[in-house]
C-alpha cells in the first residue's frame, strides 16, 4: 500500500517537473493559431470585419470572439481556407460586413488634389506619397484596395479603379458545369410542362 502511494507520488512529481521544464523550455512566443489565421487573411487592413486591421481580427477568431465569415476582401475562398485551418464548416460571407468585390486600386485625380495629407494618414500600408499642399499620388504596387483613403478626402478626388485584366494576370475560366443527363433533363422538362403552375 505504502509502496504504491510512494511510487505514484514519485511518478507524479517526476512528470510534474518534466511538464514544468517543458513549459519553460519549449515556450511558444505569441499565439500560433492567430499567426496562422493572420497568414490567410488578405492584409488589406480595411476594417470591414469591424476590427481595426487583419491582425486584431485574426486574434479575435483565435479567441473565438469572431466568426470566420467577416472578411469580404478574402471572399469565399478566404472563408474556405479559414474553415479548413480551423476544422469548421465553410459558411457564406456575412453581408453585414460587405460584399466580395473584384480587386480595385485607388487612384488620385491629381488635378483635383489639394494636398491636405488626410489620405496619407488614413492609408494603412503607407502607399500614398505626398506632402502638405503638394499633389499626392498612390503607389499602385503597394495599394491593397482597402478604400480607407476615400472617406477622409475633402474634395473627393480618389476613385477605385478595377485592376485591368492582362495576359499576365488572366485566368482560365471555370469550365461550364457538365450538362445534366439527357434522361434527367427530359424528365425535368416533362414534369415542368405537366405541372399546372407552369401551364
Amino acid at each position: 500500500m505504502l509502496t504504491a502511494i510512494i511510487a505514484l507520488s514519485a511518478l507524479a512529481g517526476i512528470f510534474g517537473l518534466l511538464l514544468g521544464f517543458a513549459a519553460v523550455q519549449f515556450r511558444v512566443e505569441g499565439d500560433p493559431v492567430a499567426d496562422q489565421i493572420d497568414a490567410l487573411l488578405p492584409q488589406t487592413q480595411c476594417g470591414q470585419c469591424s476590427y481595426p486591421g487583419c491582425r486584431p481580427y485574426a486574434e479575435a477568431i483565435a479567441a473565438g470572439e469572431a466568426e470566420i465569415n467577416q472578411c469580404p476582401p478574402g471572399g469565399e475562398a478566404g472563408v474556405r481556407a479559414l474553415a479548413e485551418l480551423l476544422g469548421r464548416e465553410p459558411i457564406p460571407l456575412n453581408a453585414e460586413n460587405g460584399v466580395e468585390k473584384p480587386k480595385a486600386l485607388a487612384v488620385i485625380d491629381e488635378a483635383t488634389c489639394i494636398g491636405c495629407t488626410l489620405c496619407i494618414q488614413a492609408c494603412p500600408v503607407d502607399a500614398i506619397l505626398g506632402a502638405p499642399k503638394l499633389m499626392h499620388t498612390i503607389i499602385a504596387q503597394e495599394c491593397t484596395g482597402c478604400e480607407l483613403c476615400i472617406p477622409p478626402c475633402p474634395v473627393d478626388c480618389i476613385s477605385m479603379v478595377p485592376v485591368k485584366e492582362t495576359v499576365e494576370n488572366w485566368k482560365w475560366p471555370y469550365p461550364d458545369a457538365p450538362a445534366p443527363l439527357a434522361a434527367t433533363a427530359e424528365r425535368v422538362e416533362s414534369e415542368q410542362s405537366s405541372s399546372p403552375v407552369a401551364a
Binding site: 493572420d38 487573411l41 488578405p42 492584409q43 488589406t44 487592413q45 486591421g53 487583419c54 475562398a77 474556405r80 479548413e84 494603412p124 500600408v125 503607407d126 502607399a127 503597394e142 491593397t144 485584366e165 492582362t166 495576359v167 499576365e168 494576370n169 488572366w170 485566368k171 482560365w172 475560366p173 471555370y174 469550365p175 461550364d176 458545369a177 457538365p178 450538362a179 443527363l181
Partner: protein, 546 residues
C-alpha cells in the same frame, strides 16, 4: 539508315495513336513568305520578363536591328524582322488563349529589307569562349522554338547540380498536322548539325541524341547525310527514331523514351543530367553564331482543310496570320475554326489579324468535321480511361474532382503541375468532360493565389512597419514634450514672479511721473500713450530673448 531504326527499348505510359495529317503540308518545299506591309511585334513573346524598348516611335530601323533588349536574366531581346519605320507602340490582339491585347511595336516595312550591321560571325566556335557564345545567343533573342519559348541562353547555362551528360535534340514533332520541324530537318540538316555542335561544345557534353519520330524517314535520312558530311567532328551524335505516339514530343516523354530515365516531379531535365532543345532552336543558334543573325523568322506550318494550299512557310516574326493564309492561297469555303498550335494543345484565336510569335509552330484552319466544336459534357462515369492514357502518370480523374470543387491544395497534391496539358485524357473521355480546361483553370487560379499571397505579405510588412513608425513618432513626441516642459520649468524658476512685479511697478512709476509732467504742461490733452507698460514689457522680453 543503320542507326535510324525504330528505337523502342523504353516507352512512356499511355499516349495516343492519332491520325497524323502530315502529308497535307509536306508535299511542297518550304515557302519563304513575301514581305508583309505591317509587322506586329508583341514585346512579350517568351517566358520571363518583357524586354526594354530601345527605339522611338517614328524611328527608321533596319532589318536585324535591336528593338528591345533583354531585361533581367530570364528575358529575350527583340529585333526588327525587316527594315522600315516604327509607327506605334500600342495594344494589339495577340495569339493568346485569353484573346486579350498586349503591348506591340508596329513596324511599317519599306520593302527594301535592308540589313543592319550584324555582330561579326564566329567562324570557328571552338576558338570562342562558351560565355561569349552564350552572350551571342542571348543578344540574338533566341528562345525555344518548340512552343514554350523559354530563353535558350538560360537553358544552355544549367545550374550545376548534376553534371550534364546528354544533349537531346527534339525532332519528335508529335502533334497532328504540325510539320515545320520535319521540313526544317529535311531542308536545314547541315545548319541543324552545326547548331548541335555549338551547343554540345557550350555544354561540354559528348553524347547527343536527335530523337525523330519514325513517321519522318526523309528527315532522318537528311540528318544522317549531314552527319556523314561533318565526319569525325560529329562523332557522338546519333539520330534515333522513336515510335509515333502522341505526345512523344513532350520533353519529359522524349527523355523517357530515349534514356529510360524519368524527370523528377517539379524538376527539370537538367536534374538528371539531360538538356533538351528543339531542332529549330539549333538552327537559330547556328545562324546567330556563324552569321550573327538574330532570331527574326521561323518555320511555321499553315494547314488544315480550311487552307487552299497547306504548306510550311518561313515567316518573319510579327507577320499577321491573314498574310500567311493569303500566301497559301487563302481560305477554302469549309474553313470554320482558326487555331494557333495543333489540334490537341492549340487554342482558338478570334481574328486572323494576330501576328505570329517566336513560339508559334502551326496555324490550323479546320473545318468542324476535322475539329468538332466542344459537345456538352456529361457526368464522369469513373471509367478510368483518362488515367490509362496519361503520359505523365497522373490521376486525371482525381485532378478533375478536386479542380471542379476548387480544392486547390488537393489538386496540387495530385501533382497538377506535372500535367503537360497534352489533352489525351480529354480526347478519350467518353463523357466529353473538358478535363484540360479544368487543369488550366486550377493552374492559373493557384498562380493567382500565389501572387495574392505575396501581395498580402508585402501589405502586412508595410502595415506592421507603419504601426511601429506611429508608435515611435508618439514616443518621440512625448519625450520632446517632456523635455520642453522641463526646460520651461527651469526658466520660470530662474525668473520668478517677483522680478516681473518689480518691472511692472517700475513701469507704473515711470508712467505716473510722465503723467504728472504732462499734466503740468497741457492739462487738457488726452492720455494717448498706454502708460508705457508695453514698452517696458518689451524690454523685459528682449532681455529674456537675449
Amino acid at each position: 539508315m543503320s542507326l535510324a531504326r525504330s528505337f523502342s527499348q523504353w516507352r512512356f505510359n499511355g499516349g495516343l495513336l492519332l491520325d497524323t495529317h502530315l502529308a497535307e503540308s509536306t508535299q511542297q518545299p518550304v515557302l519563304h513568305s513575301t514581305l508583309p506591309e505591317w509587322l506586329i511585334l508583341p514585346l512579350q513573346q517568351h517566358i520571363g520578363t518583357a524586354p526594354k524598348i530601345d527605339v522611338e516611335i517614328g524611328q527608321t530601323v533596319r532589318k536585324g536591328q535591336l528593338l528591345a533588349h533583354a531585361d533581367g536574366y530570364i528575358s529575350a531581346a527583340l529585333h526588327a524582322p525587316s527594315s522600315g519605320v516604327i509607327t506605334a507602340l500600342e495594344e494589339r490582339p495577340i495569339a493568346h488563349p485569353s484573346g486579350l491585347s498586349a503591348l506591340c511595336l508596329i513596324l511599317h516595312t519599306d520593302g527594301r529589307d535592308e540589313w543592319d550591321a550584324l555582330p561579326p560571325p564566329i567562324a570557328d566556335y571552338k576558338t570562342a569562349d562558351p560565355l561569349t557564345l552564350r552572350q551571342r545567343i542571348r543578344q540574338a533573342g533566341i528562345v525555344g522554338l518548340g512552343g514554350a519559348a523559354f530563353p535558350t541562353s538560360v537553358k544552355l547555362n544549367p545550374v550545376p547540380t548534376t553534371p550534364i551528360q546528354l544533349l537531346i535534340l527534339n525532332g519528335a514533332e508529335c502533334e497532328p498536322y504540325i510539320t515545320c520541324d520535319d521540313m526544317l530537318m529535311c531542308e536545314r540538316a547541315h545548319d541543324l548539325i552545326g547548331g548541335v555542335l555549338i551547343m554540345r561544345y557550350m555544354l561540354s557534353v559528348e553524347e547527343v541524341i536527335i530523337g525523330v519520330e519514325d513517321n519522318k524517314p526523309e528527315a532522318c535520312a537528311a540528318l544522317e547525310a549531314a552527319l556523314e558530311k561533318f565526319g569525325a567532328e560529329a562523332g557522338g551524335i546519333a539520330v534515333r527514331q522513336v515510335p509515333t505516339i502522341y505526345p512523344t514530343g513532350g520533353e519529359k516523354q522524349l527523355i523517357r523514351v530515349l534514356t529510360g530515365q524519368e524527370v523528377p516531379s517539379n524538376g527539370l531535365p537538367a536534374d538528371i543530367g539531360v538538356i533538351c532543345q528543339n531542332v529549330g532552336t539549333a538552327v537559330a543558334v547556328y545562324e546567330a553564331v556563324t552569321q550573327g543573325r538574330p532570331l527574326i523568322s521561323r518555320y511555321i506550318t499553315v494547314t488544315g482543310s480550311g487552307i487552299q494550299q497547306p504548306r510550311v512557310m518561313e515567316a518573319l516574326i510579327g507577320t499577321p496570320i491573314s498574310e500567311l493564309v493569303h500566301q497559301c492561297g487563302g481560305y477554302t469555303e469549309a474553313a470554320q475554326r482558326l487555331i494557333v498550335g495543333g489540334p490537341m494543345m492549340g487554342f482558338a484565336v478570334p481574328s486572323d489579324e494576330v501576328p505570329i510569335v517566336k513560339g508559334a509552330n502551326c496555324i490550323l484552319v479546320a473545318t468542324t468535321a476535322e475539329l468538332a466544336p466542344p459537345v456538352p459534357a456529361m457526368p464522369c462515369i469513373r471509367c478510368g480511361a483518362c488515367a490509362d492514357v496519361c503520359p505523365a502518370d497522373l490521376l486525371p480523374q482525381q485532378l478533375y474532382w478536386h479542380a471542379k470543387t476548387k480544392d486547390f491544395d488537393k489538386v496540387a497534391d495530385y501533382h497538377l503541375f506535372d500535367c503537360i496539358e497534352c489533352g489525351c485524357c480529354a480526347a478519350v473521355c467518353p463523357s466529353h468532360i473538358p478535363l484540360v480546361q479544368y487543369y488550366r483553370f486550377a493552374k492559373t487560379e493557384i498562380w493567382a493565389r500565389e501572387r495574392e499571397r505575396q501581395q498580402a505579405d508585402l501589405a502586412r510588412q508595410r502595415h506592421e512597419f507603419r504601426l511601429e513608425r506611429l508608435e515611435r513618432d508618439k514616443r518621440e513626441k512625448e519625450t520632446k514634450l517632456r523635455k520642453r516642459k522641463e526646460a520651461l520649468q527651469q526658466k520660470s524658476a530662474e525668473k520668478t514672479d517677483d522680478t516681473k512685479k518689480e518691472v511692472i511697478e517700475a513701469a507704473v512709476k515711470r508712467a505716473k511721473a510722465k503723467k504728472a509732467s504732462q499734466k503740468t504742461a497741457d492739462p487738457v490733452a488726452p492720455v494717448s500713450d498706454p502708460v508705457g507698460i508695453a514698452e517696458s514689457l518689451d524690454s523685459v522680453s528682449q532681455d529674456r530673448d537675449a
